[in-house]
């Protein structure tokens, strides 16, 4: 029986190898040589520490370091790990190297995947985030923050800052900005105060950004955008895709070939990610 079975097994092997070649080329879908659009040189690098509570039921706070690259007219907000990972991908020269990178069990992965470009295009911000299996992109007006100025002042690392508040995304935000640093920018989408926001948090302290350092940029640091095959969409549609992914995680994990235990773990993890920065998405 084994003999006769051999033929059958060979066919199975063939299908397996074929499937393998497909899956490799499927992962090559994440391209490493996307064209890059250079927007302008960065003039200042601001690093924020972001503390966030993913699960509204647990007070566990996760931390992540975020970069704000400030240029003359525009800015880019990206997580440090996302930036590092991107730097590696840009150094990759050929497909073999890229496949090795993708197959590397220890390859970096990032928790915060979004990148925000402000005043690009003019008067708007561009929000980009990878929601498996695509990269989504939407634009939003810059002047959406109705800041209330307070007379409270404080000092953050030797800088005089003043308080301002606003409502955004279903949360009330308290910001401390520094008029001495004349960039009317800040972390995440926040902008429109007459000076750089050095600290901002919501009143429940689920999300807080605090400046760690302000530095001169390293050599050749550009504000630039990897021109992927973006799915251009609206903010509402973006959140629809994101919510669907979170809710539908079991069947997506199934499709990706994850084991039943891994599917359950993914569902458990996703159930804990119930506290996004923007609760209201109007």
């Amino acid at each position: 029986m084994k003999n006769l079975n051999n033929k059958f097994l060979k066919i199975q092997n063939f299908f397996f190898l074929l499937a393998l070649s497909f899956s490799l080329s499927a992962s090559a879908q994440l391209r490493f040589d996307d064209p890059i659009i250079i927007i302008e040189p960065a003039e200042l690098v601001v690093t924020y520490s972001l503390g966030y509570q993913q699960d509204s039921l647990s007070d566990h706070i996760r931390y992540s370091e975020m970069y704000l690259f400030l240029g003359k007219n525009t800015s880019e907000f990206i997580s440090k790990n996302n930036y590092r990972c991107d730097t590696i991908i840009r150094k990759i020269k050929n497909l073999t190297e890229f496949q090795e990178f993708l197959l590397d069990r220890n390859r970096p992965f990032q928790k915060i995947l979004y990148v925000i470009f402000k005043n690009y295009p003019k008067g708007k911000l561009t929000f980009i985030e990878h929601v498996l299996p695509s990269t989504l992109k939407y634009e939003e007006n810059l002047d959406i923050f109705k800041w209330q100025l307070s007379r409270d002042t404080a000092t953050i690392n030797g800088y005089k800052v003043q308080k301002a508040t606003c409502n955004y995304g279903g949360r009330k935000w308290i910001a401390w900005f520094c008029p001495e640093i004349q960039y009317n920018d800040g972390p995440y989408k926040f902008n429109g105060l007459p000076g750089l926001i050095l600290k901002i948090h919501d009143t429940r302290n689920h999300y807080s950004f605090e400046v760690i350092s302000i530095e001169k940029p390293w050599k050749n640091l550009m504000i630039d955008m990897r021109e992927k095959d973006f799915v251009e969409t609206t903010k509402q549609e973006f959140f629809r895709a994101k919510d669907s992914f979170r809710e539908d995680i079991i069947s997506r994990a199934q499709e990706a070939g994850l084991s039943s235990e891994d599917q359950q773990n993914a569902a458990k993890t996703m159930a804990k990610r119930n506290n996004p920065l923007e609760l209201k998405r109007k």
């Binding site: 059958f8 080329s25 440090k80 590696i88 050929n94 007459p194 973006f230 079991i250 569902a267």
Partner: protein, 885 residues
């Protein structure tokens, strides 16, 4: 606009009462509107300019504005004061200050260009020592009362995170290496250490940022990840973990003990695992990397299956459902540092397993004129008993990297089987001892600016197998038609194999070459004899003494080309193969020399951001496996007598495939289709001579024949957010066509497989998920275009799982199918409870609740259908606890 109109009204002094009142009220409250424009000297509007308003001489802002794209700004001031300070500030322009009266007014600012220096600051680092790329944390300062393992403390160190599965992240990235005193004992599976090593035995935790563990790659290949090193307090630390479980029925046990010892230059993790619950712990020895898979295709097959006892392919269900085992697994991992650059690692595995297998197998063979069908009841016992030693030497210096693995294996495996068919009871006894030694060397060096990788693999093995069958089989051929007591088939196979290669990476302009040059050689001697009585050989026709060799030289190159949305990839492996065979007994000889070019071409085209189209073509040539040639007969199995005296088979194969996919994450609609077409052309055919009791004589003939495969695969899924439900449908259709030669009849065969799987997932609440699948499959076999068999099987699967609290998990899996009027239902239940503080996991499971006995599966090839019913493990309840010591 509204205000401007108000100003107008003011100027023409139309004294309407409510306006006066309004103005008066505005003055009382101090509500003043400041608006205006900012431009540069050329009169161009300037946006994003800050307009800061403060009370005279004060720094605190009372109002502000930021100019828009048109350079326009507007703000309201609400303070009682005679005058206001207004400051215009920005990065690129000169700051301007004015003192203005506290009245509504329009202001005009013309700004001059300016370059400013900003003072740079960095927040002082936390009280953690940092020296070059190394950060040290003192464990004692982060320890709390309830901490047990180092993982509990790591969790609290800034920058370090521990995932639920134990993976450790630094700055959000997984660790590159996990060292204890600079030694990497576990190679990735470090959770065994981090979860068990007591925090009290560690003095400091070091984070090595941007760590490149292969030193020759330092300054060449940038590393973005950090590694972690634990420094121990004492010179010797011992610890471990245990899992114990027990259940019914019959009496079940599961034990896992993992003690560990760490010193500065020598570290050991050992484990002893034993169970009879159907958990095949020997799977831990299997390697799964892609490289291992590619290598294993080239190397001589490790599990030589020339001789076998009749068995059934296991069903495609969870192994724990049917595996009746009794396994003892001992595992030793030791790591010794010889000096700063050289390490020796020793892994020793010992496995002793006794498996019982009960099944019924119904085989049906179809020919145009005949249908042969027979049933066998099998009762097999498998005794696995083997020892594997792996010794690795690793030298890691700036100028080169060297890793050498020496593997020694010794197997003393046995299998015994009883067969009850319609005619007789047959006893089979198979011994498959193996001795093997292999060495795998890889080294990276630099030649000029380029990195060059050398690889060398050498192996030798000896297989001295025997198969004894009572009563003696094939009496007509082997014993002049006289019944006899037993037949013994012996084989002795000695094999030598080596494969050596050099590879490097070239970049030339926009094209990329990655050539690899190599050489492989294999030499083997096969001796085989059939004995009908003690020391009495059957005639020379049933003996082999075959010398064979296989030589291959190869050059692999790949080229890649990309234009906008189209990507082309070409691989052009060139190989020269030489096979030489000679049999001393029959005095048969043959040799073949050929040069092959096996091109692979693939193309992908991105239609838009949702759709993708891919195509693939491959033409390949295969020379037959030298293992499959034997000029004399070999009794492979109690009912297979095989001879292959034909020339080495030559097969050429054309594969085409096309793949389309659509993925839209916004409306959660995903679908894909693929189509595969393959033709293979072989110069060899196997003829089966099947007797009514299933005994078969297989011989190979020189006859060219073609085989065609068509495969269509489609799937679609859509998530409905309102119903929290995913609907899914998968379909697979495949057809295989060829020629078969049975009992001297040559005929066309065709097989059709259909598989339809509709299903849905429903997320009932955040913590409760359910899944339902229907799996319908059909197998049809055609001989000379007449349908010989039609099998259909429909299975229903239902799964539900819940995690009501963080430390509880409940899952229920059930499967239902109806076959020939008999219905089968399987239900498994599992409940897990974790006691966090004590770090104990308790688990209770009840498997096969309805005590189902058999599971039926089907397999088919061109002219055969196998229906096998496998005896499953009985209903069992199992309770287990996992803890550390």
């Amino acid at each position: 606009m509204k205000y401007q109109r108000l100003f107008c009204i003011q100027r023409i002094k139309i004294l309407v009462t409510f306006i006066i009142i309004f103005m008066f009220w505005q003055n009382l409250c101090g509500q003043v509107t400041l608006q205006g424009n900012v431009t540069n000297a050329k009169g161009e509007a300037l946006s994003n300019i800050n307009i800061l308003v403060s009370l005279p001489g004060k720094k605190v802002l009372v109002a502000f504005a930021v100019s828009d794209i048109k350079g326009y700004f507007k703000t309201n001031v609400n303070y009682v004061s005679d005058s206001l300070d207004i400051k215009v500030s920005s990065i690129q322009y000169h700051n301007e200050c004015r003192r203005i009266s506290n009245t509504s007014q329009t202001l005009q600012f013309v700004l001059k260009h300016d370059v400013k220096q900003l003072k740079i600051f960095t927040v002082k680092a936390s009280p953690i020592k940092q020296k070059h790329d190394t950060i040290s944390y003192l464990v004692s300062t982060f320890t709390r009362k309830n901490d047990r393992s180092i993982e509990d403390v790591l969790r609290r160190m800034p920058g370090i995170e521990v995932e639920p599965n134990g993976q450790i992240l630094y700055q959000g990235l997984p660790l590159k290496k996990f060292y204890v005193e600079g030694l990497d004992l576990m190679d990735g599976s470090y959770t065994v250490i981090s979860k068990n090593l007591p925090n009290k035995s560690v003095s400091t935790v070091e984070i090595l940022e941007n760590h490149q563990p292969i030193r020759i790659l330092e300054n060449r290949v940038a590393s973005y990840q950090a590694s972690l090193n634990l420094k121990l307090k004492r010179s010797i630390t011992a610890t471990g973990t245990a899992k114990l479980g027990s259940g019914l029925s019959p009496f079940l046990w599961d034990a896992n003990l993992t003690p560990m010892i760490f010193t500065k230059n020598f570290q050991v993790v050992t484990s002893y695992q034993a169970n009879n619950t159907g958990n095949d712990v020997s799977q831990q020895l299997k390697n799964f990397t892609i490289n291992d898979l590619i290598n294993s295709i080239e190397r001589p097959k490790e599990n030589l299956e020339i001789l076998n006892i009749q068995s059934v392919n296991p069903p495609q269900i969870n192994k724990e459902r049917y595996l009746d085992n009794n396994i003892h697994f001992f595992n030793f991992n030791g790591l010794q540092r010889l000096n700063k650059d050289i390490q020796i690692r020793t892994n020793i595995y010992y496995i002793n397993d006794y498996q019982k297998q009960k099944a019924a197998l119904k085989s049906t063979y179809y020919t145009p004129t005949d249908t042969i069908s027979f049933t066998e009841n099998l009762n097999n016992r498998i005794f696995d008993n083997y020892l594997i030693g792996k010794f690795s030497l690793n030298r890691n210096v700036k100028k080169n990297y060297l890793n050498n693995n020496l593997i020694i294996k010794s197997h003393r495996d046995k299998q015994k089987g009883n067969i009850f068919n319609e005619y007789e009871d047959i006893y089979q006894s198979l011994k498959t001892p193996l001795k093997s030694i292999s060495n795998d060397l890889s080294s990276i060096k630099t030649i000029g600016k380029h990195l060059v990788e050398f690889k060398s693999y050498i192996s030798y093995d000896n297989n001295n197998h025997s198969l004894e069958i009572n009563p003696g089989q094939y009496q007509d051929i082997l014993n002049n038609n006289q019944a006899y007591d037993k037949v013994l088939q012996k084989i002795d196979l000695n094999r030598f194999y080596t494969n050596n290669s050099v590879s490097f990476v070239f970049n030339w302009k926009k094209l990329n070459f990655t050539p690899k040059i190599g050489f492989a050689y294999r030499k083997q001697i096969l001796e085989s004899n059939i004995y009908i009585k003690e020391e009495e050989k059957a005639s020379a026709e049933f003996s082999n003494k075959l010398n064979s060799s296989f030589t291959k030289a190869y050059l692999k190159t790949g080229i890649e080309y990309r234009y906008k949305k189209i990507k082309l990839n070409a691989n052009l492996p060139l190989s020269w193969k030489y096979i030489d065979l000679s049999d001393e007994i029959s005095d048969n000889k043959q040799s073949i020399k050929k040069l092959f070019l096996d091109p692979i071409l693939s193309m992908s085209y991105k239609i838009n951001s949702f759709c993708d189209l891919r195509g693939y073509w491959r033409f390949s040539n295969h020379l037959g496996d030298i293992d499959r040639v034997n000029y004399g007969y070999i009794l492979k199995n109690y009912r297979y007598l095989n001879k292959n005296a034909a020339p080495i088979s030559e097969t050429s194969r054309n594969n085409f495939s096309i793949y389309f996919k659509y993925r839209n994450p916004i409306n959660s609609l995903f679908y894909s289709f693929s189509y595969i077409y393959a033709i293979s052309n072989s110069n060899l055919m196997y003829s089966s001579n099947i007797q009514s009791d299933g005994r078969t004589i297989i011989e190979a003939f020189h006859k060219s024949n073609k085989n065609y495969i068509n495969n269509f695969n489609g799937q679609i899924s859509k998530y409905f957010s309102a119903a929290k439900t995913t609907l899914r449908f998968k379909a697979n259709f495949s057809q295989q066509q060829g020629k078969s030669l049975i009992n001297e009849e040559l005929f066309n065969t065709k097989n059709l497989f259909y598989n339809l799987i509709p299903g849905l997932n429903v997320r009932i609440t955040n913590w409760l998920n359910s899944e339902y699948n229907l799996n319908a499959s059909y197998i049809q076999t055609f001989v000379e275009n007449s349908k010989k068999s039609n099998i259909s099987l429909i299975r229903h699967k239902f799964k539900i799982f819940a995690f009501p609290t963080n430390n509880q998990l409940i899952s229920c899996t059930s499967e239902f199918y109806n076959h020939k009027g008999k219905s089968n239902i399987f239900v498994d239940l599992l409940y897990r409870y974790s006691i966090k503080k004590q770090k104990i996991d308790l688990e209770i499971s009840w498997k096969n609740i309805f005590n189902n006995e058999t599971y039926i599966t089907y397999q088919a090839n061109s002219f055969t259908i196998w229906e096998s019913s496998y005896i499953l493990r009985p209903s069992q309840v199992f309770l287990s606890a996992k803890f550390s010591f």
